[in-house]
Structure formats: structure tokens, C-alpha cells
């Protein structure tokens, strides 16, 4: 199995009232035996909110547990929360949660204020939208483009003299579209660092050198990055030159 499927993993999604903790909507993407208990999750999050009385939209809040992460945003007194793998890009989750929140208020906003006892059935039409947003890819990339791009990633990584150990193509929010030989912890770190990817409108590339990696992120087009994990004992300049060549090649095969 490719690690990609794991990275996509959204385990469950909830909408609940911040103050009362009333659950309005839940959706689980796990088999029922391993599915988190919605009531427990909501109870936990509600307790946490009353403890830490802060929260605002635009800020994605994150609580990391051993191999699971809660990410949530607040809007108009409702909390939109997901349980995800910690390897999923936080920015991508924020993007999706914010979109879901807007859709929810647009579809049900009028009815919300008049509800006393919540009939969660009322929101069942919302399932499809939520499934599409969490299940779909952030950026469409044709299969043929993917295969062709993968060819260039392989070519780059197999050039030993550059020190490139792994490479991936990311959407601006850090959603992994394509990946070749990326080591998992370094991949997760890279995604975190590349939150700045969002701000790359006016940047061509970005280099981060640390003891464990020479990370080069190069803009392919608006909203699309090539990130390369280079061995730290190799020269950065060589790597950047090679990455820029790969970007040129990928540009030719990806429609703008």
C-alpha cells in the first residue's frame, strides 16, 4: 500500500454546539468496531473548551494525541472538528473545515436558531458534501500527468550526486498529491514547514537546511509545490539546480 492512503485519513467528523456540547452531526470513516464514540469525543472536546475558553475562526486548533489529532474550528458557536492522522496537513484540514462550516450555515443557518431539540436526521443531506470534501483530492491531477510527474521524481531521486532522498508534489495546503521515497517523519516535518507554501505567491523557491535534511520547496505553479528531501551532507546549490530542472520538466506535463 502506498503511504498516500494513510495521509488522507480522516477518521471522523463532528459538528457540535460549543457551550452545551449538543451533537448536531457526526460522520465516521472507520469500521464500526474501531470507530471513535462520538459522545466521548464531544464530551472530551467540550470539557476542554470550558477549560480553555479561547477559540476563534481562522485559527485552526489542534490537539495531538499519540497517533491521532483533533483539529477544529469554531464558527458562530458551533465547533467543526475532525479526528485525523497527525500526518495530514493542518492547513489542508483548516481549508476543508472552513469550507464545510460555510456550507453548513448556508444550508441550515435559518433553521438552527429555531431548534430546541435537535433532530440530527435533519442534517442527513449534509453527508454527501462532507464525504466529497474529505474524500476528494484537493487538487485534481490527471492520472497521466501523475505518472509522468512520478517519472521525473524518480529520476531526480535516483541521481545520487544531488543527495536527493525523496520527493513529493504538494498542493499549497500541504495535501500530498504524489510522493516518491519520502521518509515519513521528514515528510510530516516538511509539510509543517511548508505551511509557508500558502504564502509562496511571490516566492520561487524556499530552502530549509537543518541537521537532518536539506529541504527544497520549489513552486511549480500557483498552488502547487515540489518538495525535495536532500541529504544534509550534500551541497545545497546542486540540489536546487536539479530541483529547478525537474520543476521545468513537470511544468511541461501539467496543464496550468
Amino acid at each position: 500500500m502506498s503511504p498516500l492512503t494513510e495521509f488522507k485519513a480522516v477518521k471522523a467528523f463532528f459538528i457540535f454546539e460549543k457551550d452545551q456540547g449538543t451533537t448536531l452531526f457526526t460522520r465516521s470513516y472507520e469500521r464500526s468496531s474501531t470507530a471513535p464514540d462520538a459522545h466521548l469525543v464531544v464530551a472530551f472536546l467540550t470539557a476542554m473548551f470550558s477549560f480553555a475558553k479561547t477559540s476563534s475562526l481562522s485559527d485552526l486548533k489542534v490537539v495531538d494525541m499519540t497517533d491521532i489529532r483533533f483539529s477544529f474550528i469554531e464558527k458562530n458557536g458551533l465547533i467543526f472538528a475532525v479526528l485525523v492522522s497527525p500526518l495530514v496537513s493542518p492547513l489542508d484540514i483548516q481549508f476543508k473545515l472552513s469550507t464545510i462550516a460555510s456550507l453548513f450555515f448556508s444550508d441550515y443557518g435559518n433553521q438552527l436558531s429555531s431548534i430546541d431539540i435537535v433532530d440530527t436526521e435533519m442534517f442527513s443531506d449534509f453527508n454527501d458534501s462532507v464525504d466529497e470534501i474529505f474524500g476528494g483530492e484537493t487538487r485534481q491531477m490527471l492520472k497521466s500527468s501523475k505518472n509522468a510527474a512520478l517519472f521525473y521524481l524518480k529520476k531526480l531521486v535516483s541521481k545520487e550526486e544531488t543527495g536527493a532522498r525523496g520527493a513529493m508534489i504538494l498542493s499549497f495546503t500541504g495535501d500530498i498529491l504524489l510522493e516518491y521515497k519520502m521518509d515519513q517523519p521528514r515528510m510530516a516535518a516538511a509539510i509543517r514547514i511548508l505551511n509557508v507554501g500558502t504564502y509562496m505567491t511571490n516566492l520561487r523557491y524556499l530552502v530549509v537546511a537543518s541537521e537532518s535534511t536539506n529541504l527544497v520547496a520549489y513552486k511549480i505553479s500557483e498552488g502547487l509545490l515540489l518538495a525535495v528531501d536532500g541529504h544534509p551532507s550534500f551541497g545545497l546549490e546542486d540540489l536546487v539546480v536539479n530541483v529547478s530542472e525537474t520543476v521545468k520538466q513537470i511544468k511541461e506535463i501539467i496543464p496550468h
Binding site: S58, L91, Q94, F95, K96, L97, S98, T99, S102, L103, F105, S106, S129, E132, I133, G136, E137, T138, R139, Q140, S171, F172, T173, T198, Y199, T201, E222, G223, L224, H256
Partner: protein
């Protein structure tokens, strides 16, 4: 004497590349404010503003404008139809100092929006008109392009100075109300 009142909800979209000024135009329109710092929009959001007027039949129309701010970064998003659908109008915003942002309107944004909301009215917005020295597209170039586009009008705006912002919103709203059969409203 006003005979009657009717409430409408009108969904309109602001579409265009990152940093062209969509959020700024909305902020100017709704709160009459402007911010110099750029903060990238993450995801989509909508704000509402209610406009009331009395039409020629003496009917009081209370229009709740639902203004959708679509992140420029969302231009590749595969689920965009979910929030683009049901729109009656759209502002296609580009940055007068960056030519490629105009190209993307034709190449991407209009195609997406027309697919999801085939009957909406479009207005083209060339924003940042206050940056006269940095301007990259001349009026005559614009004129040519607009003729080939699916829009009813073009406005040159500045969210910074406020120029033409209210005018553009007014135009789109009144055109929608005029053109759309009343039963849809």
C-alpha cells in the same frame, strides 16, 4: 404607500486568484474598511448584507446579499461545485497590476462558475486601480478582452480608496433583480 414586502436571498461569488483583493472588496463593501496586510483566505466564507429598496410596483424588497469569498488558493479544488452552485451573480476579480490574474479568469474561474451556476450574471472587476504606476493592462486592452467574455460590465475598483466598490455591488444586485424572473427570487 408600500403595499407589500418581499424578502430575497441572493448568492453572489467573488472569484479570482490569490491576493487580487476579493476579501478587501468585501470588507470595503460591508464594513467600509481597508487593511494593508495580506492574510491569505483559507477555505470559503460568506458574509451577508441586507439592502432594502422599494421597486416600481411599490413593493418593498429586502435583499439579503450572501457574498461568498472564495480563496484564490481554491482554484484547483475538486469539490468547488459544492459552494459555487446556486449563485445568481459573480464578480470576477483580477489585479490590474498583474496580467496573469486576468488570464486566469477566462481560463479557470469562469469555467468553474459557469459549470456550477450556469445562469449567473458576471461582472469583471479590475481591482487596485489606485496603483496607477504599476498598472499592467491598458484600458484599450481591457476593452478587447471584455467583449469576448461572458460578463455584463467591467468596473475598475480600488478596495483601498473605495472607488467604484459600492457601485459594482449595486449594479450586480439590481441587474440580478431585473433579469431574473420574479418567481425565482
Amino acid at each position: 404607500m408600500v403595499k407589500n414586502e418581499i424578502k430575497h436571498v441572493l448568492k453572489i461569488l467573488l472569484l479570482g486568484d490569490g491576493a487580487v483583493g476579493k476579501t478587501s472588496l468585501i470588507l470595503r463593501f460591508i464594513e467600509n474598511k481597508f487593511k494593508d496586510e495580506y492574510s491569505v483566505s483559507l477555505g470559503v466564507d460568506f458574509l451577508t448584507k441586507t439592502i432594502t429598496f422599494i421597486d416600481e410596483d411599490d413593493i418593498k424588497r429586502i435583499v439579503s446579499l450572501q457574498v461568498w469569498d472564495i480563496a484564490g488558493q481554491a482554484r484547483h479544488v475538486s469539490y468547488s461545485h459544492l459552494y459555487l452552485k446556486g449563485a445568481l451573480g459573480a464578480f470576477y476579480v483580477f489585479d490590474l497590476t498583474r496580467k496573469e490574474t486576468l488570464e486566469q479568469i477566462q481560463n479557470r474561474w469562469q469555467l468553474q462558475a459557469l459549470k456550477a451556476s450556469p445562469n449567473h450574471l458576471g461582472i469583471l472587476i479590475g481591482n487596485k486601480a489606485d496603483l496607477i504606476k504599476e498598472r499592467a493592462i491598458s484600458k484599450s486592452q481591457l476593452k478587447k478582452i471584455v467583449d469576448s467574455m461572458h460578463v455584463i460590465e467591467i468596473f475598475e475598483t480600488s478596495a483601498k480608496t473605495g472607488r467604484n466598490v459600492n457601485k459594482a455591488f449595486q449594479k450586480l444586485t439590481t441587474e440580478i433583480l431585473r433579469v431574473k424572473p420574479k418567481k425565482f427570487l
